[in-house]
């Protein structure tokens, strides 16, 4: 059995003053995460104040855009087309919710290596998704 990925309409994320740089970068094809200057830890989703040590000294960094699937589920009876929702653990150590795209959804597995791709949203910025390498 194979379930080949099909494009779907993606609800646009609403940019806020706190996350605007993330979506500006997405438009350039870059995945931004945040790093804390006080404790050195990365975090996701990006915040003004570090969720690990509560320092307000956080900076944007460009992630390598590669990682592995932490968990994945193919939803078949939610939308007209099947889609794969997942958490991907980035090389930097943080995990992010995402979709896995441009592949056979039935072949996806935990631990699989993936890289970021950007998919257009409906009337908003592109959103980071991942595809098997």
């Amino acid at each position: 059995m194979a379930t080949i990925y099909q494009d779907r309409v993606i609800t646009a994320p609403v940019a806020t003053p706190e996350n605007q740089p993330f979506y500006d970068a997405a438009a350039r094809g870059e995945l931004l995460i945040k790093r804390c200057l006080a404790c050195g830890e990365h975090h996701y989703h990006p915040r003004a104040i570090c969720p690990h040590c509560f320092s307000d000294q956080t900076e944007w960094v460009v992630a390598q855009g590669v990682g592995t699937i932490y968990t994945v589920s193919v939803s078949r009876r939610v939308l007209p087309t099947a889609y794969a929702i997942a958490y991907v653990t980035l090389a930097e150590g943080v995990s992010m919710m995402t979709n896995i795209v441009d592949c056979d959804l039935d072949a996806l597995a935990i631990g699989q290596a993936v890289r970021v791709v950007f998919k257009p949203s409906e009337g908003g910025p592109p959103v980071p998704m991942f595809t098997p390498v």
């Binding site: 779907r8 993606i10 609800t11 646009a12 994320p13 609403v14 940019a15 806020t16 706190e18 996350n19 995460i33 830890e41 990365h42 975090h43 996701y44 989703h45 915040r47 570090c50 969720p51 690990h52 932490y70 968990t71 994945v72 589920s73 193919v74 939803s75 078949r76 009876r77 939610v78 939308l79 889609y83 929702i85 997942a86 958490y87 653990t89 150590g93 943080v94 995990s95 992010m96 919710m97 995402t98 979709n99 935990i110 949203s121 959103v127 998704m129």
Partner: protein
Amino acid sequence: MSLKRQACIVGIYEHPTRKAPDKTIAQLHAEVAHGALADAGLSFRDIDGYACAGDAPGLGPLAMIDYMNLRVRHMDSTDTGGSSYLIHVMHAAEAIATGKADIVLVTLAGRPRSEGSSGTVPRNFGANAPDVPFELPYHAVTLNQYAMAAKRHMYEYGTTAEQLAWVKVAASHHAQHNPHAMLREVVTVEDVVNSPMMSDPLHRLDCCVVSDGGGAVILARPEIARSLNKPVINLLGAGSAIKGLNGGDIDLTYTAARFSGPSAFAEAGVTPADIQYASIYDSFTITVIMQLEDLGFCKKGEGGKFVADGNLISGVGKLPFNTDGGGLCNNHPANRGGMTKIIEAVRQLRGEAHPRVQVPNCGLALAHGTGGVISSRHGSATLIMERA
């Protein structure tokens, strides 16, 4: 100070409706309040505390207290999704123990079935919820977020689809005796694993029902409880916790029950082995397995083995659970199952459960709720109760 035996549950009511397009949500709240007062043998003028969560209309307590014309000095609108009502009970007991209230009413009601709301619709709390822009584009719904937790649990511990199915099988064995249950047909492991795949590894029969309705509980000071005509049910211990995504350093293999459970057990001075009946939140089959582990009924990762072979079936297994059929078969009003968890635990302690599922001489029971979403952010609450 401890809450142990400082407050009693004196009234319970589960609305018999499962579909109520012709009633308002406020009306359903008032109807379950009416029912719980009748059960307790109290008047609405006796109430001096009230709690509700986000299922109530308007600003919750403001809308409902005015609508029912209550006169209260304790009010609580804590909202942690389906676990809210167990937290309301804990807060009500705190208010009673400190003299801030004598009799507290907690209500839940909603009409998701009539309104077409379910676990396959994204929860959009608006752009001001900081997580929403990072989850809504991926079409995260309740169903597939629980599925992701189940998938990881299987990966780490070897939990199987058949083990998940045993949770539904047990619930169905209980629901067959409940005339109000939405799904009364007894199902087998094969029925569950052969039902349509919704979001792997969860099949349709791994999911709870969507129902209209509601429920209410009333707490009172022990002296008041002893003056009423029902068995006295003491609250022995309570605990609550919230778990999130930890800044992206995630572990989806456990729930906040890991924190709320020990807190409740310590206060009650009992252990999981002492519990004779457990109401365990059952939005999905995986929810039950993870909570049983986190509450200490078995070791982490052994929940699948624990639930297999009918171990949750009353009269068959070691830990009778959700003897009303639970959210998986009976009722999941407002898509929030915490209230019915309390109600069935009290029925068991009173000896009022259906005779075919009643635990003999049930003296110690646990009710546990999980609200929100297990693989992003959720609240947990645990109550331990005894028959005096």
